[in-house]
């Protein structure tokens, strides 16, 4: 049977950071991804990232993806398995993989789950019409394949993804009729909102989609205002002629592998759904199974990379590769970095979610 010291499932920013960190201590790493190249969601992100200048802020996602992929290729301790799905993890430390060659077991001493998140669907009449897309699909079409999804788009959701994709649609020459937001305030960063507002795109807070209509495909959408109880207010309907409805209504962590591995999972709405309990080393309640990135709670690429690094460091330490003082020092450094990244108002929700999670974790260990 093929053997590795650390198996990392998911080659997005969290998984790659974890793999590279562990490999830097000589750990043999196998990095697994559904896609045929490393990078995860970064490969379709043409905007520049925020964060520390010293840590590459201002770098566009696509450029970062290329840099990280090169580091993976050049690192002799990391083996990349592309077009491969992790099917399950069993108590004898065997990860079952579906590779292009068929089903293969992989014996691994440690496992890092960095599977990311999936898009939430929204329920409304007509949501099954062709022309209703998730924001991820729209980004892939435009930024990876260079295909315009349509002529005129209604964006549903004003988190950073909804705002950024709206901007990229206009860059691609597509009209964005409006951005809807059910909450009374915009979800994403104000600078992203201002950036699309000055392109003339209205951001309608307290609004949602009532229905999509069209003969065989989207031809328009009816939107309406919401009351305090999130119910549509009759009489406030507006008809928008659009051929694409793009849903950017949030992400939910992809935790199937963690459930199956026996990690204790908790529902924390601030973190996007079910997430595993984990300790200060990013280790879950399933021994030897670590988590990082959106799979541990939906956040930004910058926090995902820091978490991945922490998980990779911890995995290497647990394999006896990191001197204890160095481990403690580096761990505090990364934890401090994470703390600072979350210290602004946009990080408050995440901090609330993490607090809920840590309270529940204490209950488990007590």
């Amino acid at each position: 049977m093929r053997k590795t010291e650390l198996a990392v499932v998911g080659a997005g920013p969290a998984g790659i950071s974890g793999a590279l960190e562990a490999a830097s201590y000589g750990v043999k790493v196998t990095l697994i991804d559904r896609g045929d190249r490393p990078g995860g969601q970064l490969v379709k992100q043409t905007h520049k990232f925020f964060g520390w200048h010293a840590k590459g802020a201002g770098t566009r996602g696509i450029v970062l993806a290329e840099q990280l992929a090169r580091h993976i290729r050049e690192n002799e301790n990391v083996t990349f398995f592309g077009s491969t799905e992790a099917l399950g993890y069993y108590s004898d430390k065997v990860l079952l993989l579906e590779t292009p060659r068929g089903i293969e077991p992989l014996q691994c001493e440690r496992l890092l789950v960095a599977t990311g998140a999936s898009e939430k669907m929204l329920l409304f009449p007509g949501n099954d019409l062709p022309g209703v897309y998730g924001a991820g699909a729209v980004q892939t079409l435009m930024n990876v394949y260079g295909v315009r999804p349509g002529r005129s788009v209604l964006m549903v959701g004003s988190g950073n993804i909804g705002l950024i994709v709206s901007y990229q649609l206009v860059q691609a020459g597509v009209r964005v009729a409006a951005v809807l937001e059910a909450m009374p305030v915009i979800g994403g960063y104000a600078v992203h909102a201002s950036k699309i507002r000055r392109l003339g795109i209205p951001i309608l807070t307290g609004h949602s989609i009532k229905e999509a209509y069209g003969d065989g495909q989207v031809e328009g959408a009816v939107i309406w205002k919401l009351d305090e109880k999130w119910n549509g207010i009759p009489g406030t309907e507006k008809d928008l002629k659009v051929d694409v409805i793009c849903l950017a209504t949030g992400l939910t962590p992809l935790g199937e592998l963690l459930w199956q591995a026996g990690a204790q999972m908790e529902y924390v709405s601030e973190l996007g759904g079910f997430v595993p309990l984990y300790d200060e080393n990013m280790e879950t309640t399933a021994k030897g199974v670590f988590v990082a990135g959106d799979a541990s709670g939906v956040e930004e690429a910058s926090t995902a990379m820091a978490e991945g690094k922490l998980a990779g460091l911890s995995a290497a330490w647990s394999l006896g590769r990191v001197p204890p003082e160095e481990f403690t020092r580096k761990r505090e450094e990364i934890r401090n970095e994470l703390y600072q990244l979350r210290a602004g108002p946009t990080g408050q929700k995440i901090l609330r979610g993490l607090e809920t999670l840590s309270k529940r974790a204490k209950k488990v260990t007590a």
Binding site: H47, H53, A57, G58, V185, Y189, A190, V191, S194, T346
Partner: protein, 168 residues
């Protein structure tokens, strides 16, 4: 202009803008930066992009940028560095009815020197036209192009986006 709130409409309020607007005497002296970044977010490249120390060092990565207009030369380097596309340079020193505005522009085609472009305010409403004075294309694939336009003086604090009009 709407004053409902930045997080409701995406448009900064007049109070928010007042806090980051260079004083008139400063604008009339020469180009100076106007940073329209009002929310605490984890971001600091603007500070590092300024070679003149005009954007103060961030104690906390979430701080909003603070400008020292005495040090700012209006060079516009920070415009290209800002991932939020939130930085502009204004110049009312040209002495006539005109002003100069530098803004980030990430669309194709880029305007050309001498071309007349349409100008828009922070709500995306067309407010007039201007003439392109200089285009700094920015390095591919990272850089954000910066466009300098000459515009009517009353637009120096108003125009924040431009559009190239080639189809006629």
């Amino acid at each position: 202009m709407s004053d409902e709130g930045l997080l409701v409409t995406g448009i900064p309020t007049s109070e928010e803008l007042a806090r980051v607007t260079p004083p008139r005497e400063r604008r009339e002296k020469g180009p100076c930066v106007m940073i329209e970044c009002f929310q605490r977010i984890p971001c600091d490249p603007c500070h590092y992009s300024c070679r003149f120390g005009a954007i103060k060092e961030f104690e906390d990565i979430n701080d909003v940028p603070e400008v020292d207009w005495d040090k700012c030369t209006g060079c516009g380097m920070c415009i290209a560095a800002c991932p939020g596309l939130a930085i502009f340079v204004v110049d009312e020193s040209t002495g006539n009815e005109e002003c100069r505005i530098a803004m980030p522009y990430e669309f194709v085609p880029l305007p050309e020197k001498g071309e007349r472009v349409r100008l828009f305010d922070r709500a995306g409403t067309e407010v007039g036209t201007g003439v392109v004075e200089r285009v700094i294309p920015g390095q591919k694939p990272q850089g954000t192009p910066v466009v300098w336009v000459r515009a009517p003086k009353e637009l120096s604090l108003v125009a924040r986006h431009l559009a190239v009009n080639r189809e006629g």
